[in-house]
């Protein structure tokens, strides 16, 4: 899920960059978009740093936390 959300944010960022790169932008609107973009960048960076996937085992039709080492 985490990656999907992250990707959604990334595609919004892509959108913002495209608008900002366009011709004839109102500076006020651009600044607003830019602020939104920078906020998203910060969020994404945080997500990338902090989100940690889990290792689970599927036993008896249920996902359970995997405890102990694999080897």
């Amino acid at each position: 899920m985490a990656v999907k959300k992250l990707k959604a944010k990334l595609s919004r960022l892509e959108e913002i960059a495209l608008i900002l790169e366009g011709e004839n932008q109102e500076i006020e609107a651009s600044i607003k978009l830019f602020e939104e973009g920078m906020k998203l960048v910060k969020e994404c960076t945080g997500d990338l740093d902090s989100l940690e996937g889990k290792i689970l085992v599927l036993i008896d039709g249920e996902e359970k936390d995997f405890e102990g080492r694999i080897s």
Binding site: M1, L6, E21, I55
Partner: protein, 402 residues
């Protein structure tokens, strides 16, 4: 010669049965030939003929024995059978009761593998149009493999390294031996029942063809084919191909390869994040500069039309005018001064005091007005006489007009 004993049909068949079935050679028959007329009964028993170019012999393989066959027994396949010859009394036919069947030659398993492969290929199991695409974004991966061994360790560490955000759900399974195929099937079914993962990896590390045999199971092939979740097959090494590899939606050369296929590098995400950030900053800079340029231009325009500019111009022309005025004033003053001197000289020439110096006297009335005629005078009137060196007041005694 005694009359021969008359036997019943049943007695003859029974006799033959006893005779043949007691023969030690026929009891442990190893026989080679080509399969023909293969039929699987609903009961699970397998009926077929074994033939060579000259003759044929009927065979039966009962369900228990038939279940041990590790390939698809099909028409024309050359096999080696082990079994015993027996007689079926109701029909009087002899047949081989087969205990085991192996494909002929050295690569027996390989032959069986080829046979099943050909069979499934014909059924369309490998057709590209049945291959499911891996989702663009994979957040959770299910792995059906042995919980022990290098393969699972490699996969987990590669996934964790490439995408630490990914969830890994492990279905611990046997990957070789009799129960392995059924185990793997159960794993695929369990993941399909839950649908909590985006993709399933089935696989194991390298080994001999016998070790990998579970992945050539026909039932497993069917379950892979029917799976709603996409399946990546990763069995053995690059050079090992199994039926599972062909049916799966994607074949990875190794378990590590499978891990790389499903776990996209978050480094790429970080990179695209950086890129998009820089693009935004760049675009913003450009916009700000553009605005700054416009501002600069407008400011210049404004300055050009600033009133001070006019004032300065006026001030300058004022100076010019002033200068001009001053200059002409000076000229005028100089001219006047000259004229004054001139007049002074002329005036000096007619100055009456000069006349007085020569002995004349100027007569004025009491108010200082010169008297030029006697007609204005009356006796007793006071007059003032100006000499060159003073004034004298006199009174008129008498007037005598000429």
């Amino acid at each position: 010669m005694k009359n021969p004993r008359i036997l019943s049909v049943t007695e003859v068949n029974q006799f033959l049965k006893t005779l043949l079935e007691s023969n030690s050679l026929l009891k442990n028959l190893v026989i080679q030939g080509e399969l023909s007329n293969v039929k699987r009964a609903a009961s699970g028993h397998l009926y077929f003929s074994l033939k060579d170019p000259a003759s044929k012999i009927d065979c039966v393989m009962f369900k228990n024995a038939a279940m041990g066959i590790k390939f698809v027994p099909k028409e024309g396949l050359k096999v080696t059978l082990r079994g015993s010859l027996g007689v079926y009394p109701p029909s009087g036919q002899y047949q081989i009761t087969v205990r085991s069947m192996e494909p002929q030659g050295q690569g027996d398993l390989y032959q069986a593998y080829l046979a099943l492969k050909g069979d499934l290929e014909k059924k369309g199991y490998f057709d590209p149009e049945h291959k499911k695409k891996l989702p663009v974004t994979i957040s959770r991966v299910g792995i059906v493999t042995s919980p022990t061994g290098a393969a699972v360790e490699d996969m987990i560490s590669i996934i964790k390294r490439r995408n630490p955000m990914m969830d890994i759900v492990l279905y611990p399974s046997l990957v070789q031996g009799e129960a392995a195929a059924a185990n793997i099937i159960a794993g695929i079914k369990a993941f399909n029942a839950l649908k909590t993962v985006d993709v399933i990896i089935i696989g194991r590390g390298g080994g001999s063809i016998e070790d990998l045999w579970a992945f050539n199971d026909e039932n497993l092939a069917r379950i892979i084919f029917e799976s709603e979740l996409p399946i990546v097959s990763a069995v053995g090494h690059e050079i090992d191909f199994t039926i599972a590899d062909f049916v799966a939606d994607l074949r990875a050369p190794t378990p590590s390869g499978a891990a790389e296929l499903v776990a996209e590098e978050t480094r790429n995400l970080i990179q695209s994040l950086d890129q998009v950030k820089n693009r935004m900053i760049q675009a913003m800079k450009i916009q700000i500069n553009q605005n700054r340029e416009v501002l600069f231009r407008l400011n210049k325009d404004l300055l050009r039309f600033h009133p001070r500019q006019r004032i300065d111009e006026i001030r300058i022309s004022l100076d010019v005018v002033q200068e001009k005025m001053l200059r002409s004033m000076k000229v005028m003053i100089k001219d006047n001064r000259q004229q004054l001197k001139h007049l002074e000289a002329r005036l000096d020439a007619v100055n009456p005091t000069n006349v007085l110096k020569r002995g004349y006297v100027l007569v004025t009335d009491g108010k200082g007005i010169p008297i030029g005629t006697v007609k204005d005078l009356a006796p007793d009137q006071s007059l003032s006489l100006r000499f060159k060196d003073g004034l004298v007041s006199v009174r008129i005694e008498s007037i005598k007009e000429n």
